[in-house]
Symmetry: C2
Subunit: 224 residues, 2 copies
């Protein structure tokens, strides 16, 4: 049965889910990474993960790492769904800036009931992505998987559409907004310079913008 419902558990599950997505390939996620994401010391993560494993929410191999079980993944997707629907609501109906809604949603995701969530979802017209372009897990059924690649791996001359921003830090999002790098925007790759560690892009007739590769790594795009 387990305390699938505590804020703490939900956070561990949610973070693990996201770490699995990134470095995917069915390899377990090292607990140090999980500890970082959750914001606890490594020792704490070890303790907690062992408990979640006992609850059937994670599969844990000492010294190697952890993975979500199907049961744990279901919970994680629920949390992510709440998070992203709340974010969408905050932007679309309360007019908050997209750079600040992540933090708000971190708290609200644990306080919104199924019923309220459904109403929000309906009010928003059953959105499939949040303001940062991240997919909103459906209430039932599998998550749709959209093929995207990071802006850092594009070639000069290509025309692509911004799909999703992977970094939720307000500073990063504020910058992206300023540059016009928001989901559904068409962008032309002006130059990719591995040596200078930079990508230069251009939106319409705006003045070109240059980003470091680390930043460009966190901007996912799809072909026009």
């Amino acid at each position: 049965m387990a305390r699938t419902q505590t804020t703490t558990a939900q956070n561990y599950l949610k973070e693990l889910y996201q770490l699995q997505q990134r470095s995917d390939g069915h390899a377990p996620v090292p607990l140090g990474q999980l500890a970082d994401s959750v914001g606890v010391t490594p020792g704490t993560a070890t303790t907690m993960v062992k408990r979640f494993a006992g609850d059937g929410l994670m599969r844990y191999t000492p010294r190697r790492g952890a993975r979500l079980t199907p049961k744990g993944e279901k919970v994680a997707l629920g949390v992510l769904r709440r998070h992203r629907i709340v974010e969408t609501f905050l932007v679309q109906h309360l007019g908050l800036d997209w750079s600040e809604v992540h933090e708000e949603a971190e708290v609200l995701e644990h306080a919104v009931s199924e019923k309220v969530l459904d109403r929000l979802d309906a009010l928003l017209g059953h959105p499939t992505t949040d303001p940062h372009g991240s997919p909103i897990p459906p209430a039932h059924g599998k998550m749709q998987r959209v093929a995207m690649r990071p802006l850092s791996r594009c070639k000069a001359g290509q025309r692509v559409t911004i799909g999703r921003l992977l970094d939720t830090a307000p500073g990063f999002l504020k910058l992206a907004e300023t540059l016009g790098l928001v989901p559904d925007t068409q962008v032309r790759i002006v130059e990719v310079n591995e040596d200078a560690d930079a990508v230069t892009v251009r939106i319409g007739r705006r003045k070109p913008a240059t980003l470091g590769l680390a930043a460009a790594d966190k901007i996912m795009v799809s072909n026009d």
Copy 2:
């Protein structure tokens, strides 16, 4: 500084505030009552209240009871404000039934930031009462005090307006709704029978409704 910010502390403060309102007169509220309201055993309330007293949030006299300090009251009013604005939002914008929003708000009141609260408040047009007629404490300044008396203390023949429902239990609210006893409704007192422990009221041409005095006690009215 104290942990004014934990959900638990906020609940104790909020409940104490409400108990003070009822049996007011600057007399301390017995901890047994507070324990009941918060939903903990008496021993727990004693432990907690001593801590809050140490934090300057309550004034505590052993064996007599507790009262909020001005500082504690400020926190309590903030919680109440969040609770009631959230309730109003849930009813007016998400279409939840007024009988169920109290429970939802019990959780959300601890998750809504100042910024989100302000936006909700603006979206709702700065309401002064929640769906049950309870006053919403203003962001700054004193709470307005409206003179009302319980329906149980009315006399036959009087015409009064329903102002506020004091009981938040879904069952009670559902009943009140069915009978039409919702805020701002005009009601005529048909009969008050102390012996039968009942009050009979009539709304417009509807068929008269009879309530026990205990229920009528929880319905506050004002003169037409």
